[in-house]
Symmetry: C2
Subunit: 218 residues, 2 copies
């Protein structure tokens, strides 16, 4: 199973590494980190890097394409870059599954892939998601034909486990969950806007909206 994970400056590391680790643990996947240009990829936090081993021109097909998200100040970069959007459209022609994590769905939207599609994104980006003709829904992993979108950041782990179950069978997905000891026990239960205190959600929503109006600073 060939998996292409798209990288770009400003990316949220866990959006990419969550699904990567799930696919890697199957021991039946070839995962490729792909960017416009090979080499170091600056993280949104500006505190580190991922690394693209392949450039767009070297990866022209995949069974699964994963488009991760990024912090709001930076998300406009790939959305406004025709070369990146064209690569996504080109890969999409070849995939079994075209997927996104967090506001990576906005990039799929900018590539024109979500028109009329039920989809999700980070909970703070639903307005933007709708602006691309998508029908936002607050499920954690959303399938529309062969497009699978996941909610914020950490949801890519759940999405990848689901994709592994569909492609390699439920037992493989269960083994991977056991290998990664994915038996989550966060100290609190505030991981979605439905569960967190309303004032916390509204304050954070305001911050995200302000940040997403700013120009990228990369």
């Amino acid at each position: 199973m060939e998996v292409a994970i798209m990288l770009y400056n400003g990316i949220t590391a866990l959006d990419a590494i969550g699904p990567y680790e799930v696919f890697a643990a199957t021991m039946k996947s070839k995962v490729k980190f792909v960017a416009k240009n090979k080499g170091l990829i600056k993280l949104d936090s500006k505190m580190g890097y991922l690394h693209a081993d392949y450039s767009f021109s070297e990866v022209t097909s995949a069974d699964i394409l994963v488009v991760p998200g990024c912090s709001p100040p930076n998300y406009k970069t790939p959305m406004n870059d025709e070369e990146s959007l064209n690569w996504i459209r080109q890969l999409h022609e070849t995939t079994k599954w075209t997927t996104s994590v967090c506001n990576g769905s906005l990039i799929l939207g900018a590539a024109g892939l979500l028109n009329g599609a039920v989809a999700t994104s980070h909970w703070g980006s639903f307005d933007l998601l709708q602006s691309f003709g998508a029908i936002p829904t607050d499920e954690r992993v959303v399938r529309h034909d062969k497009i699978v979108t996941a909610a914020g950041v950490s949801s890519g782990i759940d999405m990848a486990l689901q994709l592994v179950a569909w492609e390699l069978g439920e037992d493989t997905s269960k083994v991977v969950q056991l290998i990664l000891e994915y038996d989550p026990q966060p100290p609190f239960d505030t991981g979605s806007p439905k569960k967190a205190p309303a004032p916390m959600v509204e304050q954070l929503r305001g911050m995200i909206q302000e940040l997403s109006k700013k120009e990228p600073n990369l």
Copy 2:
């Protein structure tokens, strides 16, 4: 809050990136990826790289030290490297919290930090953990004085949320959980040996034990 995450060839990416993403999302942490030598760090899967921005000699103290784990065939590398173990001992003198994810606890053990300590590791590594004088327990996040060990791979996210709660307050931890939309919904419930089918656990345990006898191949 200064966080040093130790990297080394053969590392499991999610062990490092899970905690990184939690600390980064606080917007009150300076995270440094540190290795013996700066530069690209080969992942255990051999399908990609992380990047160390700092060498051991450049980071001589930290509030929190995180020692991630690795796939069994490689874990012996830092365990048998005096320079790495000395750096861990040196940092440990300065930390508020010395922590590990997955079989990173074996590296803490090799550094002599777990003698008589209650600790955890990946569920497949409890025998080795015990060989360092630790008292294994199957809780997901285990605190012993200022040493905090977490279970396999994905547990680093839960551990970091707990550390954030202790250091920066419960509200900050809750906000981070909401930012990362950490509301896990895996398709199955097989994330611990207690929950997975017994034959699956035993088969995987055998594989891990075989792999951990092999020499690292880096």
